[in-house]
Amino acid sequence: MNNLVIEPTKYTPNIVFLFDEKVLEISGESYPENTAEFYSPVLKWLIEFLKIKESKTITVNIIIQYFNSSSSKIFMDIFDLLNEKSREGFDIIVNWNYLEADDNMLEYGEEFQEDVDYLKFNLVPRKSI
């Protein structure tokens, strides 16, 4: 399986999904013009990736400063997929990175954390994003 790399723009995040390393990273800003269209290849890649047995141990890093409400829906879909796989025995860790000084992103992280029961969901404060 190929890696998935999408370069960032001012309003769409950098997507770096590395197959061999089993590290998936979404970083930057997320308020696309058409959110479903932007994330469609991302979800497709993830679904294929999760079908592969060797993908059992995965690290997901989310490093976002701002995301809009439609991106929030996509993130929930991604975490639901990962949560389901965790329930099936995959070892998946999500690191939700947030700016220490920003209570908004901490709160969103806490809510995602509460909405997934099997997935290891860490809240990681950072000095800068």
């Binding site: 001012k10 309003y11 308020y31 013009e33 058409n34 959110t35 479903a36 400063q65 701002y66 809009n68 409400s69 439609s70 929030s72 829906k73 996509i74 929930m76 879909d77 700016l99 000084a101 920003d102 209570d103 908004n104 992103m105 809510e111 909405d115």
Partner: protein, 182 residues
């Protein structure tokens, strides 16, 4: 005309409005407005948390215009290349920031929009948060250009209950205004 432009600008200033755009709005234009808003607030040494809250309201309310304004070019809406028109403003008055967005809506959509807004207006912060989370699980992204979470998101971010108004323009259209406060 040239004299009245000054009066117009002064009227905005009196109401605290420091950023205002009226007319055809594009995604790129919204991104640039967001950038200059963040820069202005950073230079005025606002906290990052406040900056991102006001920024978020500007984005959600502008995307609402871009997705749903019933005033379009060409008119009526007939291609995927329509331009949507509306007005968006950000201001600061009595120690609070506010974001006001407005656009035309079809008269037969008014009661549906009003119903969802009045429901949000009456909810407590905690109720809005729970509603946001249940809706996020329920909504399928294909049914909406955004995720249909926009109004819930702005109600959630707004430190005071949202304020809205519908003014009937003619048999076909009303003007919808939405105000949020930080």
């Amino acid at each position: 005309m040239t004299e009245s432009l000054y009066t117009f600008k002064e009227n905005l200033a009196k109401k605290g409005v420091f950023l205002c755009f009226n007319g055809p709005i594009s995604h790129d234009l919204m991104v640039e407005m967001g950038d200059i808003l963040k820069l202005k607030m950073q230079l005025q040494e606002e906290s990052i948390s406040t900056i991102l809250k006001v920024f978020s309201l500007l984005i959600e309310q502008t995307q609402n215009i871009i997705f749903y304004s019933a005033e379009t070019i060409p008119e009526p809406e007939n291609t995927s290349n329509n331009i949507h028109l509306g007005i968006i403003s950000v201001g600061y008055l009595n120690n609070s920031y506010f974001v006001q967005g407005g656009n035309k809506v079809k008269n037969n959509d008014v009661s549906r929009i009003e119903k969802s807004l009045s429901k949000l207006q009456k909810m407590s912060k905690e109720e809005i948060k729970q509603f946001y989370r249940t809706q996020r699980k329920l909504i399928s992204p294909e049914t909406s250009k955004g995720a249909g979470l926009g109004f819930i998101e702005v109600a959630r971010k707004s430190s005071k209950p949202i304020e809205y108004h519908f003014k009937k323009i003619d048999d076909q259209f009303s003007f919808f205004s939405l105000k949020t406060t930080i």
